[in-house]
Symmetry: C2
Subunit: 247 residues, 2 copies
DNA sequence: TCAAAAGTGTTTTTCGTACACCCATGA
DNA sequence: TCATGGGTGTACGAAAAACACTTTTGA
């Protein structure tokens, strides 16, 4: 329903695109968002199901036509808020722009894709035709959207290694074993909480809140609560290799 | 002269943009190229001087309007070949797309920027209004092009640390002291040839050709010639940090 | 034989992982 | 007091920078 509006620019764009690809050289331009959240220890992406051709029944990234007076990032935030009711983005960054002439059956359409992150633990209300899917098991995907999700996964994975982008995956406060599960889900491999703690502490990414969480029914030492020191993107380990002399 | 054609899309776009930003929502789309080459031990960027307002007398990145049937990368290569006669790109990759409504005084224009590299040692013939400028001392720059050059520098610098992108800066064969000068120019800090040699050899990026260069008039041991093992982009050191267990 | 430039051996440092061990809690 | 999960101390290995030393050439 909310997505019906997206049908125009994404699906039924024969009229629009013929105008847009006319002799003035302009092409239709849309923005797309790969919104990730860790849900049940899996990296998940927000998709909506197309009701009309092309790609009827397949899943697509949320997004839509770029407005005449808005910036690209601005447009992504607007469309996520309007169409899938997501307003809790902890991070948003541009991924890539795709413009192959054949990428869109309905006519020439350029798409600028963004990577958006929602912290774990919250559950935004989304429309009925919209759902979270594990990024590792994508359903039938429309257009080139599967490839775009792949780009987003690689970007997130890389940035976890040299920035503090974990702040955007984690809730405001967390235990180290929780955080290591988020990292495991996003990286796709095991992450030992004990070492993650020291790495992120040494890099100054996280700090103790002083509080702790009582141990569960099966006992165990209470877990200390941590938070990220800053909640905006910073490069914390600019490269272990080829660094300037004198450390 | 060759750049005069670029005046249309970049400068005198009042008519075009009014059509492009009309109620169909399309906007003008251009591609831009940040073409780097190491020249006289300095990282240099190819710019052309604007003859007409806006930004008359300032320098701009080469590029122009995206054609109706061409892909983005394809368009960059075409425009570089046609307008500045550069056909020797050793590497080309997409950087970012800028679409702030106010970025272009003549009307709404989206720009997708690319990073292009030309190997050191060749000297492409460029039009008379086009020149190489040190990336560290940019002249008066049109639009947001100075910021785009900054993005390109950061991208190149980062990729030198974990990919084999040096292949695109160096000529087919080179001595280690030459290569260390290219790295120094691109990274902005000293790079010891002796360590660079071992790092790149360990990573399998370079190999000896078996030949060597006779020493100069002041003597010295002849330098061995090296080449990059592959001349397409590869990630050679996927991350020293947060790597999967079992090394 | 000396200066200059290239190349090698070795040391030091940093960083991340692995692993053993200790701590705090609930039943 | 025992199982359970959290936290600390330490060892190990990889990788890069620093630096002393050797090699190979021209004059």
């Amino acid at each position: 329903m909310a997505q019906g509006e997206t049908e125009g620019p994404v699906g039924g764009s024969a009229v629009v695109s013929s105008a847009a690809t006319g002799k003035d050289g302009g092409a239709a331009h849309e923005v797309l968002a790969v919104v990730f959240q860790i849900r049940q220890n899996r990296l998940s992406v927000l998709l909506w199901c197309r009701a009309l051709p092309p790609f009827e029944g397949c899943w697509a990234l949320p997004g839509g036509r770029l407005g005449a007076t808005e910036g690209l990032g601005e447009s992504v935030r607007r469309q996520l808020a309007q169409k899938v009711d997501v307003r809790d983005l902890s991070h948003l960054e541009q991924l890539e722009t795709r413009g192959e002439p054949g990428r869109h059956p309905g006519g020439r359409t350029l798409a600028t894709a963004y990577l958006g992150l929602v912290p774990a633990g919250i559950d935004p209300v989304v429309p009925h035709d919209t759902a979270w899917h594990p990024a590792a098991e994508l359903p039938c995907m429309a257009f080139d959207h599967a490839a775009i999700v792949g780009s987003a996964r690689r970007r997130l994975r890389a940035k976890l290694s040299y920035t503090n982008i974990g702040f955007a995956l984690a809730p405001p406060e967390f235990t180290m074993s929780e955080l290591s599960r988020y990292y495991r889900a996003a990286l796709g491999h095991d992450v030992a909480a004990t070492n993650l703690r020291r790495v992120l502490l040494r890099r100054g990414q996280i700090e103790e809140t002083g509080r702790s969480v009582p141990s569960g029914r099966s006992g165990g030492r209470p877990a200390a609560l941590f938070r990220f020191r800053t909640r905006s993107l910073e490069i914390t380990d600019a490269f272990a290799v080829l660094r300037p002399p004198q450390g």
